[in-house]
């Protein structure tokens, strides 16, 4: 099985629209939405959910007001600024210390330094994940609760489940919709994958963030290709990005023009290639063909890593 991860560095360059088009074009595949804190792929694929599971991210601390003596050791040792002296009072003191669950890292230091055993830890729900069926095949997706912790762990889980679905159903390809940025959820989505497709736009910001994404894939030695979306927005920067890709040995798999069909397709809950045959749809088909060729040309080795030696 081959795995493709679609990323961008900068947000809003069109990752999900591209993955939705690939969903319509690719055969024998499973889809995974790893943009777990702002997942949108299901809005196009309108899935029927087969299975829902709770996701538990990280434990969090809570100070039991009745046991807090107000000494302040917890706040002094907390490195995450998660403890404030604004909790409710008890019989002995007017105010107690309180943990902000959104800032708590769950490290356990407060519990260790508390002389009154006033800190309790519990692991709670941080979201849920789903296995669904769509008109384009199975989809594994998730929803991190607002402010939920440990998105990287949830991304890893979604990818693992999607691989399992592919194995069960004997499918050849996993297409992953990634999240913007280059931090924890992105690192979790690229580890050990066959190919990263970076969706770039010809803006100075887009170029800057593409360079950071390319740095990340180079750091983890993952092959990368790039496609330019809204390619005609700024021809000068578009050719600069092309030259940059060439110099780095990154293959440019296509240019997609600026086209209102992207929003129209969203309104109809369809992918761009499903609503018509305009220039953007044609470009997306070319991008898919070039990407697919790269994926199948890669030679597979025993450890599951692919060495793509044909480009």
């Amino acid at each position: 099985m081959k795995e493709l991860v679609v990323l961008s560095g900068k947000g809003g360059t069109g990752k999900t629209s591209l993955v939705a088009a690939f969903a319509a074009l690719a055969e024998r595949k499973v889809l995974a939405d790893c943009d777990v804190d702002a997942a949108d792929l299901h809005l196009i694929l309108t899935p029927r959910t087969l299975q829902v599971q709770e996701f538990q991210g990280r434990r969090r601390a809570r100070i039991v007001p009745d046991r807090c003596a107000g000494c302040g050791a917890c706040a002094e040792f907390c490195r995450f600024g998660a403890i404030a002296f604004d909790g409710p009072g008890n019989e002995a003191i007017g105010r107690t210390y309180r943990v902000d669950p959104l800032a708590c890292d769950g490290c356990g230091v407060c519990g260790h330094v508390c002389p009154s055993q006033a800190v309790e830890f519990s692991i709670g729900r941080d979201g849920e994940w789903y296995i669904s069926e769509t008109r384009h095949g199975p989809l594994v997706h998730a929803r991190l609760d607002a402010g939920g912790e440990n998105s990287g762990k949830l991304v890893t889980l979604v990818r693992q489940r999607a691989r399992a679905v592919a194995e069960e159903r004997d499918l050849d390809l996993l297409v992953v919709d990634g999240s913007p940025g280059i931090g924890c959820p992105v690192i979790a989505s690229v580890a050990g994958t066959d190919l990263v497709l970076g969706v770039a736009e010809p803006t100075l910001s887009g170029q800057h963030d593409l360079e950071r994404l390319a740095g990340l894939t180079a750091h983890f030695r993952i092959p990368m290709a790039v496609c330019l979306n809204r390619a005609d927005l700024n021809p000068e920067i578009a050719s600069a990005t092309e030259r940059w890709c060439q110099a780095r040995g990154i293959r440019l798999v296509g240019r997609i023009p600026y086209d209102p069909v992207f929003n129209q397709a969203q309104e109809q809950r369809k992918s761009v290639v499903e609503v018509g045959g305009g220039p953007a749809a044609r470009a997306l088909r070319d991008v898919w063909q070039a990407t697919h060729a790269m994926l199948t040309a890669g030679r597979r080795f025993g450890n599951g890593r692919t060495v793509c030696d044909s480009w």
């Binding site: 230091v109 260790h112 100075l204 800057h208 950071r212 983890f220």
Partner: protein, 282 residues
């Protein structure tokens, strides 16, 4: 006043609004600071073109074990929830890239065999863009944890004047870390199906923090009034509507400030500020 520009969906226009507002308010003689908290993809510098006065590493403290003192008791490994320090029979191994820097291992070690050494995970850049104070955090490529960099940026928040914070997209911990302690959050949204969905997620997140907020709509074109209906139903003020205009996208692509070149943009920024100030005061 601390104003955060945030969004659930990426690429809705946080940076274009944050940098243009900073520039317009500075022209009106406000003391303005711009703090780029989108540390994974910081782009504010492209528009503000600051003169850089200092660069320093952002570090987190990670453990270093004194093998002579260490008795391999294993308490450090038992304590560490990130598995960044592990005691295996005759050896103690550390995995600095997994460490969150909580300091727990040094506290639980009975032999005082662990000391903390700084490990760079990013960079903090400071400077000035004309009268605008500029602070940027930048996550080192390959490092997963952005919240410590965001905290480092926020430590340079000025006490007086107006601080404008450019948040990372999404609703996970980096966005929440940026929003914590804000006086007002501008949620930048676009009136598309994805835009509406991610706006509702961002609203859920902001409500958990309990900070006043409003919406700025970007790329408003014909149709797509779902966001308008949602805001009306949820009683969320829409502070600004920027029309879909390819010229604005082109100005953005070149790294220029629209308030300097696009007719009406400067006025939109003033209106946005007036609108959000009215909400903060009420």
């Amino acid at each position: 006043m601390r104003i955060v520009f945030a969004s659930g969906k990426g690429g809705t226009g946080k940076t274009i609004l944050a940098t243009n507002l900073a520039s317009v308010l500075a022209d009106q003689d406000y003391a303005v600071a711009y703090l780029d908290c989108d540390v994974e993809a910081p782009n504010g510098h492209i528009f503000l073109k600051p003169f850089i006065t200092s660069r320093e590493a952002v570090t987190i403290p990670v453990p270093e074990v004194d093998e002579v003192r260490c008795t391999r008791c294993g308490r450090c490994g038992d304590f560490c929830p990130s598995h960044a320090i592990v005691c295996l029979g005759n050896a103690v191994l550390t995995f600095p890239e997994l460490c969150h820097g909580c300091g727990g291992c040094t506290l639980v070690c009975p032999e005082k065999a662990i000391r903390e050494i700084p490990r760079a995970i990013g960079e903090l850049t400071r400077g000035a863009a004309g009268p605008i104070q500029f602070v940027e955090g930048r996550l080192q490529i390959g490092q997963p944890m952005s919240p410590p960099i965001i905290r480092a940026v926020k430590r340079h928040m000025p006490r007086a004047g107006i601080a404008i914070l450019d948040a990372p997209p999404g609703t996970a911990c980096p966005m929440m870390e940026t929003v914590r302690g804000a006086d007002f959050v501008v949620l930048v949204a676009e009136p598309t199906v994805f835009g509406l969905h991610d706006l509702t997620l961002a609203v859920d997140a902001i409500r958990k923090v309990g900070v006043p907020y409003g919406v700025a709509l970007n790329r408003v074109g014909p149709g797509g009034d779902g966001v308008e209906r949602y805001c009306a139903q949820a009683n969320i003020p829409i502070l600004l509507r920027i029309p879909e205009d390819r010229r604005i996208a082109e100005i953005y692509s070149r790294g220029d400030l629209a308030a300097r070149t696009f007719p009406g943009f400067e006025r939109w920024m003033s209106d946005l500020f007036g609108g959000l100030r009215a909400v903060v005061r009420s």
